[in-house]
């Protein structure tokens, strides 16, 4: 079972909930679970999770290189490129690929009649496996700074996930392609929100996205305590499962700032997480 932890709005507590679920599952329930940090732009799970052994693999794409001696400046590559990544000025015999815009699809080299385009490998990110006592329990996808291809790194990270047991995806914020890359591969989507107008607005967007993808889903309210009624009205009107509420305490925010897993910091939170897990798995997992 693959569970994606998402939010729409950033900073609502995706990583807190992901690491909390992971901790309760693995340490307390002794369950076979793997955590994937799919927030490739800003991966943070590693701050909370310790390991005795890390192995990394590069994520590469193929970037075309146009050989100026073979190129006849016919323009076929420029015309086929859907990402406007090829600059061609036949008058001065100039043809070059703008690497940052290239998606590495290979269409240009396919259409080139002169065989003037060869491809070079370019790393865009890194996938790291964190081992503990020989168990591959945490995988992080990390985009190289400057690359715009976060979605590719996320997809490849998910390809590294184990095929059995429970896998948790700490997803990126937002509702666009990077999130879809994670959510579309999940069986269940946990939407973490906070009781503020921003939290609710972005929750609606996320819920619409998840419904469109046809995924089972539920809500966790983090930083609860503010009695923000519109959020509760939204949840009950739309008949969305409320998986659990994690209270707001300033001391939690302080513990988080130091990189502590909150379920370790306050064992009292354990019951809330077990309740969330029971709701997700309908009582089947534990």
């Amino acid at each position: 079972m693959r569970v994606a932890i998402t939010s729409g709005k950033g900073g609502t507590g995706k990583t807190t909930v992901s690491t909390g679920l992971f901790h309760v599952f693995s340490k307390y329930l002794k369950y076979d679970v793997q955590l994937l940090d799919c927030d490739a732009e800003e991966p943070n799970c590693h701050i909370f999770i310790k390991s005795d052994n890390v192995t990394s693999y590069p994520v590469n794409i193929s970037i075309p290189y146009i050989d100026p001696d073979k190129c006849t400046f016919c323009g076929k590559c420029k015309n086929v490129c859907a990402f406007n990544a090829i600059v061609m000025l036949p008058a001065i015999k100039f043809a070059e690929v703008v690497e940052d815009m290239c998606h590495g699809c290979g269409a240009c080299s396919y259409v080139c009649p002169e065989g003037a385009i060869k491809e070079l490998i370019k790393p865009i990110g890194r996938i790291s496996h964190y081992d503990c006592h020989g168990i591959d329990y945490f995988i992080e996808g990390r985009l190289n700074v400057g690359s715009a291809l976060q979605t590719r790194v996320i997809r490849e990270t998910i390809d590294h996930a184990r095929q059995k047991g429970v896998v948790l995806f700490d997803s990126p914020p937002g509702t666009s392609c990077p999130v879809i890359a994670a959510v579309s591969k999940a069986d269940y989507v946990v939407m973490v929100t906070e009781p503020t107008p921003f939290g609710l607005y972005d929750l609606r967007l996320m819920a619409d996205t998840v419904k469109q993808l046809g995924k089972k889903h539920g809500i966790v309210i983090n930083k609860s305590g503010l009695n923000y009624k519109p959020l509760y009205e939204y949840i009950s009107q739309n008949k969305i499962t409320l998986l659990g509420e994690i209270p707001f305490k300033k001391e939690y925010a302080m513990a988080y700032s130091k990189g502590e897993i909150l379920t370790e910091y306050d064992k009292g939170l354990m019951d809330i997480y077990i309740g969330i897990i029971n709701s997700i798995f309908d009582g089947q997992a534990v």
């Binding site: 927030d39 800003e42 859907a82 396919y110 700074v145 937002g174 107008p197 967007l205 130091k258």
Partner: protein, 289 residues
Amino acid sequence: MGKPFEIVVLSGKGGTGKTSITAAFALLAENAVITDCDVDAADLHLILSPVVYKSENFASGSKAVIDRERCTACGFCPELCRFEAIEFKNNGYYVDEYACEGCGLCKEVCPVGAVNILKYENNRIYFSNSRFGPMVYGKLGIAEENSGRLVSRIRQYAQETAKKTRARYILTDGPPGIGCPVISSVTGSDLVIAVTEPTRSGWHDLQRLIEMTGRFKTPVLVIINKYDLNKDMTITIENNLKGKGIKVSGKIPYDETMIRSLLEGKTINEFKPHGTIAYELSRIWEAIV
């Protein structure tokens, strides 16, 4: 009248207070065009309550669709597709719309012309007036991709609006992260204000953001929000930034008034104009301009 000064507010990590701070700056700027480029989860309009006078659709990307009547299942396109976006099911090939990047290679290789490329036009751009000036913002369609292109278009419209209204500033609420939409927000702008928080995550993410903006040679100023949540971390961040030659323009204390102003749909400077935060934000803004 010169070119308006473009300021983009970013954070790396989400939830550090980017939008609340941008809203306060929108009030303080007095003569700005405001944009929200966090098109995935645009929230600034919830505080500024702008009145929309015009909106338009925007196509951000394309997807391939296979015409099952024509497809002979030759297998060329799935073999050449680098995004593993063509799958075989129910005795035929289908495009996984969430994996497809719309490159069009499948259309090129198809021997029977069975592939069509469709434009996705579910995004919207809004032109509006807020109580602090003109505002341009976008909304990504559900499950849409490529917010980078939408961001570029919003900024282009903001520049046109600024020219008409002779605005001195363009103030942008940017997206979280460091990927495609952030790169589109930073390209060609004059100043990045990075809002961070004194947490290990916040600092980790800020360092990646600074490295990213460094590639564009855009100057960066940092605001540490909720700085008293972890004063040791605040000092660590300040010292490290000093080493990098980056200025901390100000520090804002943790205060629930921020959330209460949000619940009322007001900027902190309207909600509590004589409070510490309002004072500090005014000071920061004066120092910036």
